[in-house]
């Protein structure tokens, strides 16, 4: 029973000081605690440059080597001009050539690599283990360069696209073959700058940086890189999470008419009470940007884990008199590392996503339970509390699949241990949940309590597995347990060691139904600069923390996920939720948007944030339902459940100081509304699981911006209020208190069926709809088929054998299509073909189930599941019956309810009990 009761003799004189702490804790985001661009020397320098002000580089010795284009980049002028007056550091750089290498991969991916030559005093860091290991196998072997014009070389990129290397000044352009229309360009504004490593010359030269009492020794001096990227034919750019924003498209951060703004910052930080709209960097970083316009979709990814700042320049930034149309210029700045950048071009935006996940990996296929509803709180206090919450869900017939335990379950924040008073029988507790098909998640963070009697710390310190500080000692920082050290997860050996800690033998009290949550892995260091690790801390291979900071959480997530994989002998799909992330994190589990707040604006911002994560590979993501900080009004909580039920990752969570908010604590009416919202998710689980399968194969996210499905509809390009779940379902959030009506834009080209009443709406129009408290507006796109399971259970586990419902929304030509993917929901047997994959096609009054499981794969997943109901929207009345082949069986057709809810009217044409097996081929004719 935590209570801030007194324990020791007081120091009354400290009262004012402590009051000060108290009140400063009460105020929100601490802007001053974090660096802005002006306080960040590399950013300030780079941002101060004007177009073409950087001494240009020219390309020399261009050739093809090993199937790639290689060249040297030399300064056009022998010495830098002293024009960079404000920049004393850079005017003494000795000119050394940079090495350039351009390679091309299958599917239209261009990779640009620029690094210093071998004479550099130190090897610059290249982020390992992010790109897929088989990437090299997919490299295209370039064999020749052509010279379309003097001073440039071009080469093949993909069908319809080529790349052009402009020699002097150095520039790269990706363009359409034939028309020569540019798509992406690098350094077309001459902002490329590469601070080469150099020896510290004079003792008086101070390379150190200071920020709020923290000193960064910066032993290797300035080494930043910056350049400009232009997206041609773009109306908007998207991506580069994680920032809190109510806008889906990235707003310009500089240029005419742009109010003063910081650049978008990519620096993984634990930000207390973050704002709902800010370019400020949050918990994770993915340096991947997409552009979209009516004519073109493209993407750019910079594999670099150092602090990055990105400016999106408003039209006219370079020349206010002649603002560029159809082009968005961006400036990318990083503190360290090399240029290892990827250019993606596609005919439509989904191509760009496929290309990006083609190099960083597609999202892992989650276990089915993980796609269901999660119940979390900091903290479920003890075993009785866990049992009571579990029983509460049963008592109120609200399904849930996972109960979470936050840091208080441990013995003094020593992860892998249990508080023996509060949780004396953890295995029994998990067993009780597992008996109802439910799972548990416990938290394991990367900070290790510096306590010699703690076996993890003992081993880690004896083996030298901790990150070192600038002086070479184990880095000692403050986090939940107090004085803590941090595992050096950059080292594969340490990751292996860490993974072993998750075995049932090592993690005492764990059972096969227990999964893991990685929090604080930015890493969060309470007494570190910007609440994180000093940049001059040293990792494996003499890598500085500044060079890999943004990937630290990624490696930790990876190690934990591999631990669960090992634990299950490679058979059980891991589930690990992480707060920090980097490009490629999608291969290791889910993420969430961190410590949000229980207010309407945070509810609104959750949608652009999750959509952005989905666009950059992290499809398995969600926001804390209800808001982490603060107490939501019941109406906000209900609206959050109604929206959160459509997040790919659906979890309610709350700060320990908030009032309890299990779904049944707000009166019968609100309990019913939340139950309904959770039921909606459970009934759509077959659809979601099918979408997760699609994501794991193609990288196309589960939750999608409208323009991903309707790339030609300009109205959708910056819609961050509504979203698609897969290709078939449109969801509009309600973000205001007591909202009575909402304007919903339904994309053009299709009509739409309101899923509450079956009413059809025209596409390409904004509809003003009345809003009730019952639900948020959802629409099924005409021409699609959604598989559902309308029987409700305690958890997803009990739904395995339940029959399906198909909801068929017919388009103008009375046709529709949809898919269903089913496997065991748990193992990797699907990789050997143990799954069912069907396409349902409705045309000419005939529904056909087609097998799309590739025959050559073999394998089979047995299922006796049948379809118990088929609902047809948009079918003219007059249908009498249905005839099923094979067998020439008949089924009744009648009017039935669209959803099985009390009070819903029977106005949808329903095929009653066709009872066809989902595993079989069949046709069903409507007569």
């Amino acid at each position: 029973m935590p209570s801030p009761a007194s324990r020791s003799p007081p120091l009354l004189l400290l009262v004012p000081f402590l009051l000060l702490l108290l009140f400063s804790a009460a105020s929100a985001w601490k802007k001053d605690e974090f660096r802005n661009c002006n306080q960040t020397p590399f950013c300030k320098r780079a941002r101060g440059r004007k177009a073409h002000s950087v001494p240009s580089l020219s390309t020399a010795d261009i050739s093809i080597s090993d199937g790639a284009v290689v060249a040297r980049l030399l300064p056009s002028q022998p010495l830098r001009q002293a024009t960079d007056g404000d920049d004393p550091e850079s005017d003494t750089v000795p000119p050394r050539p940079l090495l350039l290498r351009i390679s091309v991969y299958q599917g239209g991916v261009l990779r640009l690599h620029i690094d210093e030559d071998a004479s550099a005093p130190r090897r610059r860091f290249q982020v390992p283990d992010v790109l897929l290991p088989d990437l090299d196998d997919r490299r295209l072997w370039l064999s020749r360069l052509s010279s379309p014009a003097a001073g440039s070389s071009s080469f093949y990129l993909a069908e319809g696209f080529e790349a052009v290397l402009v020699h002097d000044p150095f520039q790269i352009q990706v363009r359409r073959k034939g028309s020569g229309e540019p798509v992406l360009s690098f350094n077309s504004h001459g902002l490329f700058d590469f601070e080469q490593l150099r020896a510290k010359k004079n003792d008086d030269e101070d390379w150190e940086e200071r920020f709020r009492g923290h000193t960064d020794t910066r032993p290797h001096g300035p080494q930043s890189i910056s350049f400009d990227i232009s997206f041609h034919g773009a109306d908007f750019v998207y991506g580069i999470p994680e920032h809190a924003s109510t806008s889906l498209a990235l707003r310009p951060t500089s240029g005419p008419g742009v109010e003063f703004s910081e650049p978008y910052r990519l620096f993984n930080l634990d930000v207390f009470e973050y704002l709902d709209d800010s370019p400020f960097g949050l918990y994770g970083s993915i340096p991947f940007m997409l552009s979209h316009g009516a004519r073109s979709s493209s993407g750019f990814f910079w594999l670099n884990a150092a602090e990055m700042q990105i400016d999106v320049l408003g039209p006219g930034w370079d020349d206010p008199a002649a603002p560029a149309k159809d082009r968005i210029d961006t400036v990318w700045m990083s503190e360290a590392g090399v240029v290892d950048a990827f250019f993606f071009v596609g005919h439509e935006p989904k191509d760009v996503l496929r290309q990006y996940t083609g190099i960083t990996g597609t999202p892992a296929m989650p276990q089915e339970f993980a796609v269901a509803y999660h119940q979390c709180r900091w903290n479920y206090r003890d075993e009785e509390d866990v049992a009571a919450v579990d029983a509460g869900f049963d008592e109120h017939d609200i399904p849930y699949d996972v109960l979470w335990l936050d840091i208080e379950h441990t013995d003094g924040k020593r992860y892998f241990t249990w508080d023996r008073v509060l949780f004396p029988n953890p295995q029994e507790m998990q067993g009780k949940l597992a008996a109802k098909g439910r799972h548990m998640v416990t938290i394991v963070d990367p900070h290790i309590k510096r306590d010699d009697s703690f076996y993890i710390h003992k081993e880690a310190s004896e083996r030298g597995y901790y990150v070192k500080d600038a002086s070479g000692k184990d880095f000692d920082g403050w986090c939940w347990p107090g004085s803590s050290s941090y595992l050096d997860v950059l080292n594969p050996e340490i990751r292996e060691w860490w993974a072993e800690k998750f075995s049932f033998e090592n993690y005492v009290g764990s059972t096969p139904s227990l999964y893991i949550w990685n929090d604080m892995n930015e890493p969060s260091v309470f007494n570190g600069p910007e609440i994180s690790m000093p940049r001059d801390a040293i990792h494996f291979g003499d890598v500085e923390h500044r060079e890999l900071h943004n990937a630290y959480g990624y490696y930790f997530h990876m190690a934990t996920s591999n631990g669960l994989l090992k634990r299950g002998n490679g058979k059980d799909r891991p589930f690990v939720l992480s707060r920090a992330f980097f490009a490629g994190s999608q291969r290791y589990g889910a993420v969430w948007t961190g410590d949000n707040t229980a207010d309407w604006d945070h509810l609104r911002a959750s949608v652009p944030m999750i959509l952005t994560l989905g666009l950059t590979g992290m499809t398995f993501s969600g926001a804390d339902v209800g808001g982490f900080f603060g107490n939501p009004e019941p109406e906000l909580l209900v609206r959050w459940y109604q929206l959160g039920a459509y997040y790919p990752f659906f979890r309610a969570h709350a700060h320990q100081d908030t009032k309890r908010r299990e779904p049944w604590l707000f009166g019968e009416r609100n309990t019913a509304l939340i139950r309904e919202a959770v039921h909606v998710r459970y009934s759509l689980l077959p659809y979601y699981y099918t979408l997760f399968r699609e994501a794991s194969v193609s990288g196309i996210p589960v939750m999608r911006p409208l323009w991903l499905e309707f790339p030609a509809d300009k109205e959708t390009y910056n819609n961050g209020e509504a979203f698609m779940v897969g290709p078939s379902l449109l969801v509009q959030g309600i973000y205001e208190e007591r909202q009575k009506s909402v304007s919903v834009y339904l994309p053009a080209g299709q009509s739409w069926y309101n899923l509450r009443n079956g009413v059809s709406y025209a596409g390409g129009v904004s509809h003003k709809l009345e809003v009730s408290e019952d639900s948020i507006p959802t629409f099924q796109r005409a021409g699609t088929i959604i598989p559902r399971k309308d029987r409700f259970r305690r958890s997803s586990t009990q739904m395995v054998n339940d029959p399906y419902t198909l909801v068929i929304a017919l388009n103008g030509s009375f046709a529709a299509e949809g898919e269903l993917y089913v496997d065991d929901g748990k193992t990797y047997d699907f990789e050997q073909g143990a799954y069912i994959h069907r396409r349902f096609i409705f045309a000419d009054l005939k529904l056909t189930s087609v097998n799309i499981h590739p025959a050559n794969l073999g394998g089979k997943f047995p299922s006796d599941c049948v379809i118990e109901r088929i609902v047809l929207l948009g079918l003219p009345s007059g249908a009498k019956k249905a005839v099923i082949e094979p067998g020439n069986r008949e089924a009744n057709v009648e009017l039935g309810p669209l959803t099985l809810r009390g009070g819903s009217s029977p106005d949808a044409i329903t095929v009653r009990k066709p009872n066809v097996h989902i595993a079989d081929d069949w046709t069903l004719r409507i007569l």
Binding site: R7, S8, G482
Partner: protein, 634 residues
């Protein structure tokens, strides 16, 4: 061989279970339907209960949901809003959600919810029912005994209430008489003072005259002689003593109420010391038999305690004068300036940042703010108790004076010896104080007083000069004594008034709770619940207020305490005490399900209601009648 035998045994067991399970499954038409509902399903065409549709008998339990409200599928999982009835013969029938039907988990003890063969559920109703019946029987027994105790309690409460009312009316008449007497004494005293004053003036005049004469004489002769100084000085001295006492009380009040101005007493700035003092006082208070010396000692000492705590607060307040909001904004401003964390050690910084999430103090073990808050709290308490202008001698410390109370309590509530140690009387009203007035036999003491006063008044001879000093002192002493007794009576009256305005339940069954506290120890905390007063969480020397008495709720099944100490950025602490029937008044469980919102269970005979027994007996009867004879052998 052995294995074979075991297997065949298992098979036959399973077979048995299967038979018994399948035997208990009703036909499709009645599956999952409660007996009282069977008639609804009799006709060939049946209406959905929500009126949305009709369905045929063939559609009943045909694994397809026709009525969204579940009318047509009481026995299957087809309708999400359906309800399934399991007869649970031998135990209590259960109506559960359709979502439990054939989900692979045994929910009904008769196994009737799992009939599709995926899982076999043994019939456990008889065993479970036996346990449940025994439990229910025990409960009934508790209620039956509880009802008896409750009746006694109600009777005692009735008497106690009558007694209190009688006492109140008696006190009122006594107050009236005493007031008159005090008035008389006051007049007498004033007259004496006046006489003394006159006498003094006269003497001064005389002295002046004498001195004048002497001076004159001295001018010729120089041998001055001391006059009888001793006598003349004594009276004024006494007077000033009295004044001093008044001043002290005044000062005391102002110290409490006007803490901003209070600046002395800095030497006792350590709360630990203050608390230790408290302890000493409690002990000494306890040991002291009478009230006179001991209590005045403790009175003064306690004053110091308050001052010390006060002082801490006033320090904070002098630094940041103004209301709490002003204070916070002030501090916030300061925070802007000194938000720079550069002056902090690395550990302090770590704690400071961690505290944003935990809302706890940044430094380990420094709960100073809380202590200061406690100071405030004490302060408030005192102010509250001061509302009748009388500083009560009763303090929390006296709560533990069990000896004292038992005399009291024994007389009024004879059964208190049986109470568990967790419950004890609170003794906030100064009954003990007052008892020395009442024990002597109430009818006669007023007479005696009147007698005494008259004697005093008569004994004093105004016409005797000089004023008889010992007689004047007697008048003064009598005046002081009686006015103090008057204020004690007034205080007692106001306390009784205070008490009697509470709602003590339908039968005043909670009357005895007024003077009681219930205690429960959980881990390092001791929880004290004092109905009609307050509830607190005590750890060592520090105490956190969980709430002040608010009211009964849910028709006397819940006691609410609200407006307790403030939580860090959270709500004010509050406590909800759920009452349930038990033979003893006992705080059995306390919990903090939500931050700073506490919940406790108090078992008490007061909740053992007679009407409930019938209900429970009916339930037991239902369970017994459902018992199948075949199961007796099991």
């Amino acid at each position: 061989m052995g294995a074979c035998l075991r297997i065949s045994l298992t098979i036959s067991c399973l077979l048995l279970i299967w038979i018994s399970a399948s035997a208990s499954i009703p036909s499709r038409e009645s599956l999952g339907i409660a007996p009282q509902d069977l008639s609804y399903y009799k006709s060939d065409v049946i209406k959905c209960k929500d009126g949305s549709k009709k369905f045929t008998k063939e559609q009943l339990n045909d694994e397809f949901c026709d009525c969204p409200d579940g009318t047509d599928e009481p026995g299957t999982s087809a309708c999400p809003q359906g309800k399934f009835y399991c007869p649970n013969v031998g135990h209590i029938p259960l109506t559960t959600f359709s979502s439990r039907v054939n989900d692979g988990i045994c929910d009904c003890c008769d196994g009737s919810d799992e009939y599709n063969g995926n899982v076999s559920c043994p019939n456990t109703c008889w065993e479970a029912g036996k346990v449940a019946r025994e439990k229910l029987q025990k409960k009934i027994a508790t209620f039956q005994n509880g009802v008896t105790i409750r009746k006694q309690e109600v009777e005692k409460a009735k008497q106690a209430f009558a007694k209190d009312e009688a006492e109140l009316s008696k006190l009122r008449s006594e107050e009236k008489i005493l007031k008159e007497l005090v008035q008389k004494l006051k007049e007498q005293k004033e007259r004496i003072e006046k006489a003394e004053e006159e006498e003094r003036k006269k003497r001064e005049e005389e002295e002046r005259r004498l001195k004048e004469a002497e001076r004159k004489a001295n001018e010729s002769k120089n041998a001055p002689e001391e006059s009888s100084h001793d006598i003349t000085d004594q009276a004024p001295e006494k007077l000033s003593e009295l004044h001093n006492q008044d001043a002290m009380e005044d000062h005391h009040d102002s110290a409490v109420e006007d803490k901003n101005d209070y600046t002395t007493g800095t030497e006792i700035s350590d709360n630990q010391v203050a608390n230790d003092h408290d302890d000493t006082i409690a002990k000494s208070g306890h040991e002291a038999d009478g009230r006179s010396d001991g209590s005045s000692f403790s009175h003064v000492e306690k004053q110091h305690v308050v001052e010390a705590q006060d002082n801490a607060v006033s320090k904070a307040n002098t630094d940041y004068p103004g209301t709490e909001e002003e204070l916070s904004s002030h501090v916030a401003e300061q925070g802007q300036v000194s938000d720079s964390t550069e002056g902090l050690s690395r550990e302090e910084l770590g704690r400071l940042v961690a505290s944003r999430w935990t809302r706890e103090n940044a430094a380990e073990g420094n709960d100073e703010v809380n202590m200061a808050k406690e100071g405030l709290e004490h302060d408030e308490d005192i102010r509250e108790e001061n509302h009748d202008g009388y500083i009560s001698d009763s303090d929390e410390d006296h709560k533990f004076e069990d000896d004292d109370l038992e005399d009291d309590q024994d007389a009024e509530f004879g059964e208190d010896h049986e109470e568990p140690t967790g419950a004890y009387s609170s003794d906030e009203d100064d009954k003990t104080d007052y008892s020395d007035l009442t024990v002597s036999g109430s009818s006669s003491w007023l007479d005696k007083i009147q007698q005494t006063v008259n004697n005093v008044l008569q004994a004093f001879n105004f016409f005797r000069r000089p004023v008889n000093i010992s007689e004047a002192a007697t008048v003064r002493k009598e005046y002081d004594d009686f006015s103090s007794e008057l204020s004690k009576i007034q205080s007692r009256i106001s306390r009784l008034n205070e008490k009697l305005k509470y709602d003590f339940g339908k039968d005043r069954e909670f009357y005895s709770f007024y003077d009681r506290c219930f205690e429960s120890k959980q881990n390092k905390y001791t929880y004290k619940v004092c109905p009609f007063k307050k509830a607190s969480q005590v750890e060592g020397h520090s105490s956190t207020q969980l709430g002040h008495w608010d009211k009964f709720d849910e028709s006397y099944r819940v006691m609410l305490f609200s407006n307790g100490d403030r939580c860090w950025n959270g709500p004010d602490r509050s406590l909800k005490v759920r009452l349930r029937c038990g033979l003893k008044n006992e705080l059995v469980d306390i919990d903090e399900p939500s931050r700073c919102e506490y919940v406790a269970i108090l078992s008490t005979p007061a909740l053992c209601l007679e009407e409930k027994i019938k209900e429970l007996q009916q339930k037991l009867e239902d369970m017994n009648t459902g018992q199948p004879s075949a199961h007796d052998e099991l």
